[in-house]
């Protein structure tokens, strides 16, 4: 199984949207896909998949992932979202957060060809734990919007990813076209200088809470080859 981190230095840039659509686009290609919502403080993927409160099940010493169906494609899914009450504040300390990350990453009976991991935003300690666990054996997609703040945060994230030998395949400039100005080109140039392939996902209001896997075909090719 190949792990693909969908990550970002900045929150709210559409990381979960990219992760979910990438998962579906891979499934449409006939691949078996697993999807982990590792954004523990703000899990949302269960909303996209319309997964309500579920009971956790175990087989041996592993938890069984949920099965979600989108456009007739079945995807394995796990995250905290379906297991914690809606609207409850998550006050997890570092130990508890990393314990959840380890449980969901290593103690779930994943069986996909690819494991897409929607990671928490920002270069914070829980991400470092995740990168250490995946050091040298994972690919990554860095998600950003074409503006200066997202660029600055992603530069920090990119530094960590490369330090932990995570193979960064591309930067996704999400909501492309939403922002206008000279700085858009500046942002693209900065990523290009770092040797990153840029994949532009156009601004599309429907995509923010839904699926348009046809927009992610280029990204699929980049992460699987």
């Amino acid at each position: 199984m190949i792990s693909i981190l969908v990550t970002s230095g900045k929150g709210g840039v559409g990381k979960s949207t990219v992760a979910a659509n990438l998962a579906l686009a891979l499934a449409e290609k006939g691949l078996k896909v697993s999807l982990l919502d590792a954004d523990l403080m703000d899990p949302v993927l269960h909303l996209l998949f319309n997964v309500n409160k579920e009971r956790i099940r175990e087989h041996g010493k592993s938890l069984l992932p949920l099965k979600v169906k989108i456009n007739e494609h079945e995807i394995e899914f796990m995250g905290l979202g379906p297991f914690i009450p809606r609207g409850v504040g998550v006050a997890l300390n570092y130990e508890k957060t990393t314990s959840f990350v380890i449980t969901l990453l290593k103690f779930v009976r994943w069986s996909g060809d690819y494991l897409i991991i929607d990671s928490p935003p920002s270069s914070i300690d829980v991400n470092v734990k995740l990168f250490k666990e995946l050091k040298g054996r994972a690919r990554a997609v860095l998600v950003g919007e074409p503006h200066i703040f997202a660029l600055e945060d992603n530069l920090r994230m990119l530094d960590l990813l490369r330090f932990y030998e995570i193979d960064v395949r591309a930067v996704v400039l999400n909501k492309y076209g939403f922002y206008q100005g000279e700085y858009v080109k500046y942002v693209e140039n900065e990523y290009e200088k770092l040797g990153l392939r840029i994949i532009k996902i156009p601004w599309d209001a429907e995509l923010q809470m839904g699926f348009k896997p046809e927009l992610f075909k280029e990204l699929v090719e980049v992460v699987i080859t």
Binding site: I56, F83, A91, L92, T103, F107
Partner: protein
Amino acid sequence: MSLASTLREKLLSLLPKLFILSTSKLNDLLKEFPEASTRSTLLILYDDRGKKIGVWLGFENNKPVVRGVDTKNPPYATNEISMHIDTFLKIVKGQLDFRTAYLYDLIDIKSNDGLPETYHLLLWSAYFDKLVEILKK
């Protein structure tokens, strides 16, 4: 009334509800959670003064066992759950969700079998859901 006896009083207040959990219902509960037969738990309840009461839950000779234990020298359990007695009472009465209590940092779980503590938490969450459901009836 001393604070130590307060802890006992609070536990006693729970007894009427626990009596509802007859043997047959306990067996029903365990049928839904067959994995529980391979596990044991040390439940530690404490009060404001740090007075502790320990309860060991597990299986012996394929039968469920619940017994009070010395918290200073407890028997082995695959995991340990500690919480304030008031938190426990709220959970059992259905006033506080077990997961919410954990997310609010009101519960500590220690794993003794190599599995992450949150692995035990997720399994126990389902167990407490069912327990509360039975006690409400």
